[in-house]
């Protein structure tokens, strides 16, 4: 997971300064993120605790604030990697300051060398190149992309030769002679649409990359993947309500993820049944928010599109140029009559 856990704005110098000055308790967690993380940390299949690794392009100077914030949220990361931007600046590695591919890919590969058999869920956002980096990493570790292809891809991303060599040295030992099936190592990649970029941007990565507007969509997806159970999904929904979401908006996001072909419509019917069963059979009293949400969900139309396909081959060189999303500047002339 990266900084997508909390609201962090680095778009302007003023945002940067404000972010630096914020205390841990001032940092706002994105609604549902904490609940999702807590539910995800417990592997429902064998009861073991999953590990959590934070990789962030945030500068190292923010470590204290970020770890304290996570601690306040009851989360102890197993590893925490931040970007050495000050070193990069002092060493005049200006491209390294901006580059995400050259930083995150080696970090992920280094972590996998320690735990080569682990399966992962990756969380990023659309403000940088997370979809690209994580998908590239997944194809490398699952043997669909040979390490020899890396230099070409990373050059197309403008990564320095030093970072290309670092990634190549790490990827080599991870090569599997047997090509692993999709989802063998990296089960899903969730991209939080912080910038609300068009979801079609991520179509080229196939079903493994799931753009999400909120963490309830991620929870539904994880339930489809059998990584989260019904109670956990309901708890995440409740957390969304406490985070300020209305049942109407949360229901809209359910329709969205069904419409995009990630979650089947009949799965939502199952979620509704689970809420009903919890109430009737287990004597649990769902919160007012959950009841209103269930009502909103029962009346919303859920389409039945074709599911998003899993892709065996992705042209990363072609995708290298389309990495950072810039929201379009659009201004509609305003007349005071309409304000």
């Amino acid at each position: 997971m990266d900084k997508t856990y909390i609201r962090t704005e680095f778009d302007t110098i003023a945002d940067l300064l404000r972010t630096f000055r914020q205390r841990p308790e001032d940092k706002q967690t994105i609604p549902g993120a904490r609940a999702l993380l807590r539910e995800l940390l417990n592997d429902k299949n064998d009861g073991t605790r999953r590990k959590i690794m934070f990789i962030s392009g945030s500068p190292r100077q923010m470590r204290r604030v970020l770890t304290e914030k996570l601690r306040l949220d009851g989360i102890e990361p197993d590893s925490f990697v931040l970007k050495p931007n000050l070193s990069n600046l002092l060493l005049m590695r200006f491209s390294a300051i901006r580059s995400q591919v050259g930083y995150k890919l080696p970090t992920l590969l280094r972590s996998r060398l320690v735990n080569p058999q682990t399966t992962e869920f990756l969380f990023g956002d659309d403000s940088e190149q997370d979809g690209f980096v994580y998908s590239l990493y997944a194809d490398l570790v699952e043997g669909r992309l040979p390490p020899a292809a890396l230099p070409n891809i990373m050059s197309a991303c403008g990564v320095s030769s030093r970072e290309i060599d670092a990634a190549g040295n790490l990827a080599g030992p991870l090569v599997h002679t047997v090509r692993k099936p999709l989802r063998a190592r990296v089960r899903r990649i969730f991209i939080h649409l912080e910038r609300r970029s068009p979801t079609a941007r991520f179509a080229a990565y196939g079903a493994r990359v799931v753009p999400v507007y909120n963490y309830f969509q991620a929870a539904l997806m994880l339930q489809v993947d059998d990584a989260m159970d019904a109670d956990a999904v309901v708890r995440v929904a409740d957390a969304m309500g406490r985070g300020g979401y209305s049942p109407f908006r949360l229901a809209n996001s359910v329709q969205d993820i069904v419409r995009r072909g990630y979650v089947p419509a009949d799965h939502i019917a199952k979620v509704l049944r689970d809420i009903g069963e919890a109430r009737v059979h287990l004597g649990m009293t769902p919160s007012r928010f959950i009841l209103d949400f269930a009502k909103a969900l029962a009346t919303i139309q859920l389409p039945t599109p074709s599911p998003v396909p899993w892709l065996e081959e992705i042209d990363y060189v072609a995708l290298a140029s389309d990495r950072k999303y810039k929201p379009p500047r659009f201004q509609v002339p305003r007349i005071s009559l309409l304000d």
């Binding site: 329709q255 419409r259 379009p328 002339p333 009559l337």
Partner: protein
């Protein structure tokens, strides 16, 4: 937070409507949730390519296209799941405003069939803002309201009085103009030269005691745009003629300006006037006004031109939000109820 229902099948098609909905969904200040009604498959295809906030946007499927060559009743029976009918039903359930760039005749027909008329309103009126040289209200708006512009071609005197009240409430709340001046459009300065129904309306308005507006008497067409009144009441036939004439003038003026580019001296003159001309264009550009409200029903209905681009539709969303937030429909209901209690009740005219 306001919810607006938007017809995505009409006008220039789903792309323009979806761009408007997408922009509205991304505007945190606007605080609007959108329900977009249309062919779900086409909408889904376009939405993927447009940046939007899916949490604030819902899709309702309405697969039937509207054949504008058919009569309204034929459209309703042949294509019952069209975006207007479905959209109006959804808007009714949600108590939300409905916006469409569709066929105005069919929108009116569907509204009459599906929606409940505001108590005391014998007819619905389509209203439009027209630019004027004088400013009014707290915001110094250079607009007057003209109604009806097509929904009711031959209203009775009572209906014209109801239109006056509806227009006054709308102007008061939307334009922040506390006691607007209301005038009756006439082709004469003396009432006895008018048709009978207009004379009767003039007498009724002159005799009416109300806090909602000040009756300014008769107004001739040439004084409409010089600020003689804030609300101008007329029948739908002449109102439609006025609005289309004004649109034609604006288009002709633009074309004439383009002709002026042909000579260097004229080009210099035009460029010196450019900021003023830009302002004039903005005033005359109907896409800036957010569409025509259809007054007299239980929910706000905003009708935009069929050639609306996303800018017009986004402004229609803004207008719908304002009309809802300013409680225009309940205000009209209260005012009409008071009118009824004063003995200026409905004649049962069902136009």
């Amino acid at each position: 937070m306001t919810t607006c229902v938007l017809d995505a099948n009409a006008g220039r098609g789903p792309e323009e409507a979806l761009r408007a909905a997408a922009l509205a969904s991304l505007d945190a200040d606007l605080d609007v949730d959108l329900v977009v009604v249309g062919d779900e498959e086409k909408i889904a295809k376009h939405l993927g390519d447009i940046a939007h906030d899916a949490e604030r946007l819902r899709v309702v499927h309405a697969p039937d296209a509207i054949d504008r060559s058919l009569s309204a009743s034929t459209i309703a029976s042949n294509s019952p799941n069209n975006a207007v009918s479905v959209g109006l039903r959804v808007a009714c359930e949600l108590g939300a405003p409905f916006i469409s760039a569709g066929h105005p005749g069919f929108i009116l027909h569907a509204a009459r069939t599906i929606l409940t008329r505001t108590a005391g309103a014998d007819a619905a009126a389509l209203a439009a803002v027209i630019p004027t040289t004088s400013l009014r209200g707290e915001r110094n708006d250079p607009f007057a309201l003209l109604l009806d512009i097509g929904a009711c071609p031959e209203p009775s005197a009572d209906v014209l009085v109801q239109f006056a009240l509806m227009g006054a409430i709308y102007a008061a709340r939307v334009a922040d103009n506390a006691a607007p001046k209301v005038a009756l459009l006439a082709n004469a300065t003396h009432a006895d030269e008018l048709p009978a129904s207009r004379q009767a309306a003039h007498r009724a308005l002159s005799a009416l005691t109300t806090d909602e507006f000040v009756y300014a008497g008769l107004i001739r067409a040439e004084h409409m745009m010089t600020g003689g009144a804030d609300v101008i009441v007329t029948d739908g036939f002449s109102g439609d003629v006025v609005v289309r004439t004004l649109e034609g003038i604006a288009t002709t003026a633009d074309d004439l300006l383009k002709q002026a580019q042909k000579r260097f001296r004229w080009r210099v003159g035009v460029s010196m006037l450019s900021s003023g001309l830009t302002r004039l264009r903005e005033l005359a550009d109907w896409e800036n006004y957010g569409g025509a409200p259809l007054l007299g029903f239980e929910i706000p209905v905003i009708v935009t031109q069929s050639s609306s681009h996303h800018r017009a539709l986004l402004n229609a969303i803004r207008l719908a939000r304002k009309v809802t937030n300013k409680q225009v429909v309940p205000g009209i209901a209260t005012a009409l109820a008071r009118l009824g209690s004063l003995g200026h009740g409905s004649t049962g005219d069902l136009s």
